[in-house]
Structures are given as structure tokens and as C-alpha cells.
């Protein structure tokens, strides 16, 4: 048991010796941006102008910086969601659906429950959002644990189902009849996440996201629960022989992961949008996977990764204006980052980084269908 615990806690310990390891994500981003530059150049635009626009759009002034933080807020929570599931050996590709369900549950509580003071209504709305995500995450977790159905396909199907459910509800029973565009009514003041800066959109959701990082870290590395989750992730067979319930941990990890994803959607509704439009298609699902991979699934890595991703997203608009490059280029860069981090041997070979002597057991997702 002790030998097992030593191995599982390894990633957080002796970080000094793993400096070259930590350079890999940075080099992956760098390499992806270089390839992005080649794409820009090949499509006949000015690379320098484009990347300058990207930087300025991301952090050029207070407004741009706070807007980046607004985007970084859901990214942090959604990235944490994926990272937590990764630690249990589960690939939660269903963040998109859980995000939407969280938004749906929270907006309902936030506009329909009237007459509550803020210190009750706001936590209640947040809780509703987390619950919505948790329920939606529990379904693939349950199917995986009890039937062995791979969580990836099921959560992708649930993403489509969530989007369609939300579309129906927002256009019909929850629709604000006074508005010409299909959306829910505005949430009540008592359920609003207050802004952190006057005249800017950055809101208290950011504080929740940062707090969540510490909570997830504490949960994973300082509690028995987290130890079990990580052990199941590292080696389900060993966990089983040590008397842990693999099925229970699978479901639990998906529920917690879904709750975090739901909270990400909640922040968007209670802090940024103040209502839920039918066109609330976020694309956070895939981004959150990239963020988690970039952070090597460590909670402390999530914040910088989420900030970088938000900066790329937020800066892309100005890049498009300045250099006439479609913002979709950022998607290409993002996919390349994932490729380079997933296949880190490419980066190792490119920059001559040696493999660590004692190779850490990487979490394996590819267990096939129903195993």
C-alpha cells in the first residue's frame, strides 16, 4: 500500500528534477504557434501584424485583459473538470453537455425563484448549476461503471442531446415572451455574480474558479477520496485488489467532474450573460481537453493554461481585424498543441529532451470498448 501511494503521489513531488518535463507544454505551444505562422504566411497575410494583433487583443489594455479573464473563468473550471476525470483514468469529453446542463439548471433557479436574499439565492443558483452538470456527468459514469460502455462515445452523444434539450427548453417553456430573440428571462439581481471591477465584465466567478483549483488539489492529494480516485486512475486492477471499489470511483469522478463543468456554465449565466440564449453553443468541451492536457492534468497548471487559451481566443478577434486572418486559425493552433502534447516524442526529438529515467506510468484511456 505504501509503495503504491509513493508512486501515485510522484507527479507532485521533486518538481525540480522535472524542469525539462515542464518545458514540454511550453515548447508544444511555441511549436504550434510557429506552424500557425507558416499557415498565416502561406495564406498571404502578414505574420508579424497578425501575432501583434493577437497579443494586443489579449492583454493590450485593461479592457482586453479583463475580457481575457472573463473567458479564462469557464476555461479554468472546465479544464479542472477534465483533469479530475483524467486522474481517475476517465476521459470526460462530455464537458460541453455538462456545461450546458449547468447553465440550464442555474438559469432556471436564478430567474424563477423569487424573494430570496442574495446570500441564499446566489449559492442556491450555483448549487443548481453544479447539480445539473453532475447529473449529466453521472450518466456516462454509470454506464461505464456498470455496463462497461466507453465514456467517450456516450458523453459525445449526451453532448448532442444536451444541446437539443436546451434548445427546446429555451425556445419553448423557459422563453422570455417579451423578447424577440429566443432566450430566457434575465436572472434576478439576487442571483447575480457581482463584477470585480466597475464597468468591466470580469466577475466573481473568477474567484470561484481559483478557489476550485485549491479545492481540487486538496481533494486529490490530501484526502482518502482523492487517493482512491488517483489509484483507480493509475491502476484499476491494483485498486481493486487493495479493496477499493472501481465502479464507485468511476461514478464519483464523473459526478465531480460534471459538477465542475456545470459550474463553468453557471458562471457564464450568472456572471457574464445574465440570461441563457438559445444560441448558447460554447465549444468549451474541446477547449477544456486541450487545457487539461496542457496542464498535464495538474490543478496548478490549469490556471496558466486556461489563461493562455483565453488569451488566444480573445486576441483572435483583433488578429482577424489587423491581418485578415480567420479566427479559426486558433482552432488549428489548438489542435496542434494537443497533437504535440499527446505525442510528446515529437517535441522531445525536436528539442532533444531526454525521457525521464524512471518513466511515470501514464494514465491509459484506450482500454477498448467495454473493458
Amino acid at each position: 500500500m505504501t509503495a503504491e501511494s509513493k508512486r501515485v503521489t510522484k507527479p507532485s513531488a521533486s518538481w525540480l528534477s522535472s524542469v525539462p518535463e515542464m518545458a514540454i507544454p511550453v515548447l508544444a505551444v511555441f511549436t504550434a504557434l510557429v506552424i500557425g505562422a507558416i499557415v498565416i504566411w502561406a495564406s498571404g497575410a502578414d505574420v508579424l501584424k497578425a501575432y501583434k494583433g493577437l497579443l494586443e487583443g489579449a492583454v493590450g489594455n485593461v479592457t482586453n485583459l479583463t475580457e481575457t479573464l472573463v473567458i479564462a473563468t469557464p476555461y479554468t473550471l472546465a479544464g479542472l473538470a477534465v483533469a479530475l476525470a483524467f486522474r481517475c483514468g476517465l476521459f470526460n469529453i462530455g464537458v460541453e453537455g455538462q456545461f450546458n446542463m449547468g447553465a440550464l439548471f442555474s438559469v432556471f433557479v436564478a430567474f424563477s425563484v423569487k424573494g430570496l436574499p442574495t446570500h441564499i439565492h446566489l449559492p442556491l443558483s450555483l448549487l443548481a448549476g453544479a447539480l445539473g452538470g453532475a447529473l449529466w456527468g453521472a450518466i456516462p459514469g454509470f454506464l461505464k461503471a456498470k455496463l462497461g460502455a466507453h465514456e467517450v462515445t456516450n458523453s459525445i452523444m449526451l453532448n448532442y442531446i444536451a444541446v437539443k434539450t436546451m434548445d427546446f427548453l429555451v425556445k419553448n417553456p423557459l422563453r422570455d415572451k417579451t423578447s424577440s430573440i429566443p432566450r430566457t428571462p434575465f436572472i434576478l439581481k439576487s442571483a447575480t455574480l457581482p463584477p470585480l471591477l466597475a464597468d468591466h465584465r470580469v466577475h466573481a466567478g473568477l474567484l470561484i474558479a481559483v478557489a476550485a483549483i485549491f479545492v481540487v488539489y486538496w481533494l486529490l492529494w490530501k484526502t482518502t477520496l482523492g487517493f482512491e480516485i488517483r489509484t483507480v486512475g493509475a491502476n484499476p486492477d491494483a485498486a481493486k485488489y487493495a479493496g477499493m471499489s472501481v465502479t464507485r470511483n468511476f461514478i464519483l469522478a464523473m459526478v465531480l467532474s460534471g459538477a465542475l463543468a456545470g459550474l463553468a456554465g453557471t458562471g457564464e449565466v450568472l456572471g457574464t450573460n445574465r440570461n441563457l440564449p438559445a444560441s448558447f453553443i460554447s465549444g468549451y468541451g474541446f477547449d477544456s481537453i486541450a487545457i487539461s492536457l496542457l496542464a498535464k492534468s495538474h490543478p496548478f497548471g490549469i490556471l496558466p493554461a486556461a489563461f493562455l487559451w483565453a488569451a488566444l481566443r480573445n486576441g483572435a478577434g483583433l488578429m482577424q481585424v489587423r491581418a485578415g486572418i480567420s479566427i479559426d486559425l486558433i482552432n488549428v493552433v489548438q489542435a496542434l498543441v494537443i497533437v504535440f502534447i499527446a505525442a510528446d516524442e515529437i517535441i522531445r526529438r525536436l528539442y532533444r529532451i531526454k525521457k525521464p529515467k524512471e518513466a511515470l506510468r501514464e494514465i491509459v484511456f484506450t482500454r477498448g470498448w467495454g473493458r
Binding site: M157, T165, V246, L329, I338, V339, A343, F365, R371
Partner: protein, 407 residues
């Protein structure tokens, strides 16, 4: 985890599902259909059968349930008979659903089947791609992305070269190119295959979106689609002619490739090698099979097939490219693959089932059935989940899939 032997076989699970469907149909027929209305079921030019809707649906529902029950009883002693009974039960169920839909109006059965066949084409091709990959031991959840990118680039090539056939070729090649990336990551760099597939999917969304906004929207919209090819004489046969010999090229290609892939996998030395690699690469290596070569060729071939499926979206049906137009068909294809137990013929039947669900959903929207369109649109995804949940663990995937082979 799911190591415990499942107590019920695949056939039994399917029988129970159909039994429930049959009872459901019978109850619906008894309670929800106006006794006075009649359904007209058309058989093209051959005329139509007019049946009283209520009695028709109820009786057909009971028949579905009875045949499914028979299959359940037979499943232990005579699996072959049970499978045949199950197939018959499915057909009757489809007839019952159509009768229920046609009440007070008429539905052309042949047209319905033809549109199912059309809708199942990308799913069947995607399932073939999945089978080729997985039989050689490589999981490929990037089929969706390969289809999407191929749809975009195929349409782009059509615009650029002003020749739709060049577009199809470009789609096939691009699918193959994406597969080269997947193969390199999985076989050469031994990346986790699920992560590699996800990266392919994200790359496809980004690259196709970039291509569309940067080039395709500026170009004139042509809306040109692949022509319907009528095979002389054969297309004159009533019913069968409409179904099989008056289709667009990619439907034909699919109809040829399903048996072709089946033949290659189960009746040629190459197929034997492929299956050996997927089941036990070490043993295959020992007897002199080049494991990596077999995997590379299979994965790249699969990519080309997925590329052809991509061309179906942009060049055969719509005649343009829209963002994320594949709409999860690549994942549904994987479900069809599992449904068919990694056998091309079975996967085709699975794809046909999903194609029917899709055709039905579209028909329901046209008929203005009082159900929100969002829920109708959910049907294929729900069916996929139910099928996966019901059948997984009862099918046998290639034993060595998902693990990179270390020489």
C-alpha cells in the same frame, strides 16, 4: 471492471428490446390511433395497400412482440434461427411504425427504404473504416474528424478545379492523409489512441472552419451534387430498381464496399494477417507478419473510406460545406460497428437501422407530427446510446486493440 462474464447474449438483449418495442407499438395502436382512419402504404407504381390504421398497428405490434419472444426462446438452442427471427421482427416493427405514421394519409414504402439507404451510406462507410482500423488493433475515434475535413476539402477542390469528381478524389486523399497522422501518432509515437483520435477531431473542426471562412464563402455557391446514375435495364425493375439501381455514386460505392471489405477481411491472406495483428500481434510477428506495415495500411485505407464518406456530405447530398456538417455520424458509425460485432455485413445492418431512424425523423418533421423537432433530432443519438449500452460487453472486439505494439 466489466471482466465478469455477461449473463445475457447479444441476441437475448436485442430480443428483449424488440419485445418491448412490439408491446409499445401494440399499446400505441390500441389507444392513440383513431379507429376510423386508414393508412395507405404505397409500393411505387405497383399500387398501394390500404389498411385500417388502428387494427393494423395493433396486430403488427403483437406480431413484433411474438416473433421477438420466439427469438428469445430460440436464442440458446438455435442462434441462427433466432437471428433470422429477430431480423423478421425488425422488419415488421418498421412496417408497424410506418403504418402508424401513414394514418389518414399515405407513405411510399419504397421511397422510405430508399431514403434510409441513402442516409445510412456515411454511417456504413464510417463503420467499414472503423472495422478496418480495429481489426488491425488500432482504435479510431477520429473518423468523425476525417469525414468532416474530407467534406470541406472535397468541396474546396470541387470549387477550385470545377470538377466534382476531382472533389471526390480530393476528399478520399485527404481522409487518407488524416489517417496517416493518426497512424503515425498511434503506431510510431505510441500515443494513447483515444487522445490521438480526439486531436484529429479538433484539428478537423479548426481546419475545415478555417478553410470555409477563408476561401469557401468567397467562392460562388454552386450547389452541384453528384449525378444520379441509372443503370440501364436494371433500373427499370420495379421496387428493386428504385432501391438499388437508381442511386448516386457513393451509395453504389458503399453497396460494393460492404461485401468487398467482408471478403477481404475473412477470405484473403491479407485479411487473415490483419485479424491476427488485431488479436495477437506478438504471435503474428513471430510467424513473420510485419505488424506495423499491416497496421499502417489498414489505418490509411480506413481513412480513405472515411474520406469518401465525407464526400457524401458535401458533394453528394448538399452541394456545399457547412461547419460541423457531419453532426456526429462518425461516432454513430462506431456504434454501428459495435452493433455488427466488427463484421462488415452486421455493421451494414446496424447502419441501415440508424439510417432508418434518420429517415424516419426527417419524415416525421415533414408530416408535422406534434413532437418538438429537437426531440425528433435526438432520436439517432439516443438509439446509439441504447445500442451501445445494451450490446457492449456482449460483443467481442479484437483482443489486442488499443495497445500500441512494442517490437
Amino acid at each position: 471492471m466489466a471482466e465478469k462474464k455477461s449473463r445475457f447474449s447479444r441476441l437475448q438483449v436485442l430480443s428483449v428490446l424488440l419485445l418491448l418495442l412490439g408491446l409499445f407499438l401494440a399499446v400505441i395502436g390500441r389507444t392513440r390511433i383513431n379507429p376510423a382512419s386508414v393508412s395507405a402504404l404505397g409500393f411505387e407504381k405497383l399500387g398501394q395497400a390500404v389498411v385500417p390504421a388502428q387494427r393494423g398497428v395493433t396486430i403488427l405490434g403483437v406480431v413484433v412482440a411474438a416473433v421477438a419472444l420466439a427469438a428469445l426462446v430460440l436464442s440458446k438452442r438455435n442462434p441462427r434461427m433466432a437471428a433470422a427471427a429477430l431480423l423478421a421482427s425488425v422488419m415488421v416493427a418498421i412496417l408497424a411504425i410506418l403504418t402508424a405514421l401513414a394514418q389518414g394519409g399515405s407513405i411510399d414504402l419504397v421511397g422510405m427504404l430508399a431514403s434510409s439507404l441513402r442516409m445510412c451510406t456515411p454511417i456504413a462507410l464510417g463503420a467499414l473504416a472503423g472495422i478496418l482500423c480495429e481489426k488491425s488493433g488500432v482504435i479510431n475515434i477520429g473518423i468523425e474528424g476525417m469525414m468532416l475535413a474530407a467534406a470541406a476539402f472535397g468541396f474546396g477542390a470541387n470549387l477550385f478545379f470545377k470538377n466534382i469528381w476531382v472533389g471526390v478524389l480530393a476528399a478520399i486523399l485527404l481522409g487518407g492523409l488524416m489517417a496517416v497522422l493518426h497512424a503515425l501518432m498511434c503506431i510510431r509515437f505510441k500515443t494513447d489512441q483515444i487522445i490521438s483520435g480526439t486531436a484529429i477531431n479538433i484539428l478537423a473542426v479548426g481546419a475545415s472552419g478555417f478553410l470555409r471562412r477563408a476561401y469557401l464563402v468567397k467562392a460562388y455557391f454552386v450547389g452541384q451534387t453528384l449525378p444520379i446514375v441509372k443503370i440501364p435495364l436494371l433500373s427499370q425493375i420495379p421496387v428493386l430498381g428504385t432501391l438499388l439501381f437508381r442511386s448516386q455514386p457513393i451509395v453504389y460505392a458503399m453497396l460494393i464496399m460492404v461485401p468487398a471489405v467482408y471478403f477481404v477481411l475473412f477470405h484473403t491472406p491479407w485479411g487473415l494477417r490483419t485479424r491476427a495483428v488485431g488479436e495477437h500481434p506478438r504471435a503474428a510477428d513471430t510467424v513473420g507478419v510485419n505488424v506495423f506495415k499491416v497496421q499502417y495500411i489498414n489505418v490509411i485505407m480506413a481513412g480513405c473510406i472515411a474520406g469518401l464518406a465525407g464526400a457524401w456530405f458535401s458533394l453528394e447530398t448538399v452541394g456545399s460545406f457547412e461547419d460541423v456538417m457531419t453532426g456526429g455520424k462518425g461516432f454513430i458509425a462506431l456504434a454501428a460497428m459495435i452493433f455488427g460485432n466488427w463484421n462488415p455485413l452486421g455493421a451494414f445492418l446496424g447502419a441501415l437501422l440508424f439510417g432508418f431512424a434518420d429517415a424516419l425523423q426527417i419524415k416525421l418533421q415533414i408530416l408535422n407530427v406534434p413532437l418538438p423537432y429537437q426531440f425528433l433530432g435526438m432520436a439517432p443519438y439516443l438509439v446509439t446510446m441504447v445500442v451501445l449500452a445494451g450490446l457492449i460487453g456482449r460483443t467481442t472486439p479484437p483482443a489486442a486493440e488499443g495497445k500500441a505494439y512494442e517490437k
